[in-house]
């Protein structure tokens, strides 16, 4: 249709209720196409979203065990083994986007009973601490094992916050989640390196700096990116710790 107005062309004036029939039919067809198109777009966009994984809060499986809280350098909970189960080391966090440094520092070296909610994704379990009480039950003589060095490794993957990645948020990783991960790690949630290749069958690692200390602001620009990092890996019971040398960091994509 030309821009040039003609005598016979239908003319729409919004405030007149009488709309020329050809325009009314056109508007009706367009409206149906528009609404239908929106519905189809919603179906296509929503039904093809990526799988956020199987992580999530285990609300029906509350955690209550006795053990020791340690800082490695982030708070972890060491649980002694028994006849059936080997000793375990759990990462712990507080409620929301808060770490568990408070209870870990207050109870360092003291046997405690820790109650909380596990957040679990595969073999990664983060305990959201609910309550910590001093105890003597079964852990009076418990001496946690020392870390076992597994050598220097070059790993490719992503730095996530351990709680969201474990399933506190689905999805809980990727660049769209970067700001949230930053807020979580700043709040004291342990950072986790999620590797594309396994070390001793594990593809996630509690992170520390190359000297085993807390990571600082230097990881903020690396968060949620696909990067390559070198560092020492050590095993703490079933938990692997990656002492990352951030000077070796290289963005892969």
């Amino acid at each position: 249709m030309s821009w040039k107005q003609t005598k016979d062309a239908p003319f729409f004036v919004g405030y007149l209720n009488a709309v020329p029939k050809p325009l009314a039919v056109f508007a009706l067809v367009f409206s149906l196409c528009f609404a239908g198109g929106m519905g189809l777009a919603a179906l296509a966009l929503s039904s093809t979203q990526n799988d956020p994984g199987n992580g999530g809060f285990q609300w029906g499986n509350r955690f209550e065990q006795a053990g020791l809280l340690e800082l490695r350098p982030y708070p972890v909970f060491r649980v002694p083994g028994d006849g059936e189960n080997a000793a375990r080391t759990y990462m712990v966090s507080g409620q929301g986007k808060n770490g568990a440094f408070g209870p870990a520092e207050a109870n360092a070296g003291t046997p405690v009973t820790l109650r909380g909610v596990p957040v679990n994704r595969g073999e990664l379990t983060m305990i959201q601490v609910g309550n910590v009480e001093a105890t003597e039950d079964g852990v009076g003589n418990f001496t946690p094992s020392e870390a076992v060095p597994l050598g220097r490794w070059k790993l490719a993957g992503e730095i996530c916050d351990g709680k969201c990645y474990a399933g506190a948020m689905r999805p809980g990783q990727g660049l769209a989640h970067k700001a949230c991960a930053d807020l979580c790690i700043t709040g004291g949630i342990p950072p986790v390196f999620v590797s594309t290749g396994p070390v001793e069958g594990r593809n996630f690692f509690l992170m520390a700096d190359k000297d085993g200390n807390l990571l600082g602001d230097e990881i903020r620009d690396l968060l949620a990116l696909y990067i390559e990092l070198e560092g020492e890996v050590e095993r703490l019971d079933d938990l692997l710790v990656f002492k990352a040398d951030l000077s070796t960091a290289r963005v892969l994509r």
Binding site: M1, K4, A9, G14, L23, A42, S47, L175, A179, L183
Partner: protein, 355 residues
């Protein structure tokens, strides 16, 4: 048209327009949030808050895309003009949908922290020096602020208060908002694991908006070339040849382009000719593409009307536009390119009286 400001001057067409829009939005959100998850191939469901923020965010993006398509579509095909008539409601609804998206983001990703959510929004990712990992939230905030300003100033009160040129310039910032939204999506949602559907939808949207604007630009350029005779025929006497009387349909106009993109609409009606500026005093709508209804020029965009002889809106309205002098030699229409002050009476040329 109105002589007093009311929040919304409702009429049947606006109600139908808004109803269709609300139905489309409701359908989109319902399908996205309620229906489509049943077809997802996921181990565990995506968080409800994330699902809703994605639903509202993508809805706002598609609405903004549609808004930007309406202008060029209406230029390319007049049957789309009814979409233009109430576009401001489309814009206001888009700002509202985008605000809900932002609220879900604030209440989810930036919540549950001792840091205030607004502080966290601005401070938790400050990697402004890199492309991957860039704080794409800032782009979304910028776009949302523009949408808010445009929604708040969409009323005719602001058009009158600011004046058409400033108001129009302000509302052209919708293009900055769209660019910011596209980058917001490109640096955020599109950086996740490969998702060909959302990538295709965003790409197609951008191509559609750019393609339609390009096609409209080409059409306008061709139109300018077609009207070059008027510019080329400037004569010493100060008149330009505007064309032949027969080129103009009854109750319609021929648009003549003068130098510096000034356009004049020459209307034929009741055996007479009158010339006025092509730009409507309301939103610069193309009056020359309108028609004469009840003895008045009627703008094709919002129906603003003007008397043919003096360019004044019929009482009690107060809008005025420039008029031009015409002369008829035989069947050739001559136009004095000097615009007369808005509202100046010019005696119409009577057809059949040409020398």
């Amino acid at each position: 048209m109105s002589v007093q400001y009311t929040p919304v001057l409702w009429n049947r067409n606006k109600i139908i327009y808004d109803a269709v829009l609300l139905i489309a939005i409701a359908l989109y959100l319902y399908v996205y949030i309620r229906v489509a998850p049943g077809f997802e191939d996921v181990t565990k469901p995506i968080d409800g808050a994330v699902l809703r923020m994605r639903a509202f965010g993508s809805c706002a993006f598609l609405m903004l895309t549609m808004i930007l398509c309406i202008g060029p579509l209406a230029r390319l095909d007049r049957r789309f003009l009814p979409l233009l008539y109430n576009r401001r409601h489309f814009g206001v609804m888009t700002a509202g949908i985008a605000a809900v998206h932002a609220n879900y983001v604030l209440g989810w990703y930036f919540n549950f922290s001792p840091t205030d959510r607004y502080v966290a929004l601005l401070s938790s990712n400050t990697s402004y020096g890199q492309i991957l990992g860039f704080p794409f939230e800032a782009l979304g905030i910028g776009a949302l602020l523009i949408l808010f300003v445009l929604a708040a100033t969409s009323h005719d009160f602001w058009l009158s208060f600011l004046g058409a040129p400033l108001w129009k310039a302000l509302h052209m910032s919708i293009y900055f908002a769209y660019a910011a939204v596209v980058l917001h999506v490109a640096l955020g949602a599109l950086q996740g694991p490969g998702d060909p559907i959302i990538t295709s939808v965003v790409t197609a949207s951008v191509v559609l908006v750019c393609g339609l604007h390009f096609a409209t630009g080409r059409m306008e350029a061709a139109r300018e070339r077609g009207e070059a005779t008027a510019r080329a025929s400037l004569q010493e006497a100060g008149w330009v040849i505007a064309g032949e009387v027969d080129e103009i349909d009854e109750d319609c106009a021929k648009v003549v382009t003068l130098a510096e993109e000034e356009r004049v609409a020459i209307f034929k009606y009741d055996g007479k000719l009158s010339a006025i500026t092509n730009a409507c005093a309301h939103q610069n709508g193309p009056l020359g593409e309108g028609k004469v209804l009840w003895g008045c020029i009627t703008c094709p965009w919002h129906g603003y009307q003007y008397n043919l002889a003096d360019g004044r809106a019929p009482e009690p309205f107060t809008e005025k536009i420039s008029t031009y002098r015409l002369k008829l030699i035989g069947s050739t229409v001559l136009l004095d390119p000097k615009a007369l002050p808005p509202g100046t009476h010019v005696e119409p040329v009577i057809l059949g009286e040409g020398a």
